[in-house]
Amino acid sequence: MASVVSTVFPAVAPSASGARRFVVSALRREAVSSDRVDLAALLTSELVTNAFLHAGTETRVSVRVNETIRIDVFDTGAGGVGLRTVGVEAIHGRGLHIVDALADDWGHEDTPEGSHVWFEITREPAAAQG
């Protein structure tokens, strides 16, 4: 049975750490292994940071855990999420590349309400927890 929790963060920079802590806490409650928790926190940080920087609206983060861990991030901005080509000296634009490289699957869609970005990573056995 899947467990789903969701919360809303304001359009301020500290919401990135707030969202990380929310995800960490939700996944620890489900006894997810610590390296998976850390990875989910990193990828969540990237998506919530993008929402803050590009949409500038409040952001809803939802966490679902069953065989996979799925995080959904919704904002109410204009959308337009996409991978850009990033030079080695670029200051911005690496966030979605990190998500693309480390998530098992991810995607985005523009909705009538705003933008929706999500990722999934596999869950490791709880026995792997340290």
Binding site: A16, L42, T49
Partner: protein, 115 residues
């Protein structure tokens, strides 16, 4: 030595700290805590202040950095560019294993000297 607290508002953890020292060889900028969109601006300011006062040999010590994402990477890349424009060097010291992964997948292990 100067220490900067990033006093994050809204009850968020504010244990991010930057210290600047001189170890006789390089100016060492040590980062402690979580480097993200809320804390990166204070690191950028500190690094640019060091570079703009003419320091050309900078070592960023990351031993006590608990977290870094793409925003933090961007600040380090920006500082590297700025110091290279002045014919200086910026190397990273004590990169935590958990952070090494984001440097590797973004190709930045090639851009930085990491000791």
């Amino acid at each position: 030595m100067t220490t900067t607290d990033s006093g994050a508002p809204g009850g968020a953890p504010s244990d991010f700290r930057i210290s600047v020292t001189d170890d006789g060889d390089a100016t060492v900028v040590a980062v402690a805590g979580e480097l993200d969109v809320a804390t990166a601006p204070s690191l950028r300011e500190e690094l640019y202040r060091v570079i703009d006062r003419g320091v050309t040999k900078i070592c960023v010590d990351l031993a006590d950095m608990d977290f870094i994402d793409s925003t933090g990477l961007g600040v380090l890349v920006g500082a590297l560019k700025r110091v290279k424009e002045r014919d200086g060097t910026l190397e990273l010291r004590s990169l935590p294993p958990s952070a090494r992964r984001v440097f590797e997948i973004t190709g930045l292990t090639q851009a930085f000297t990491i000791s």
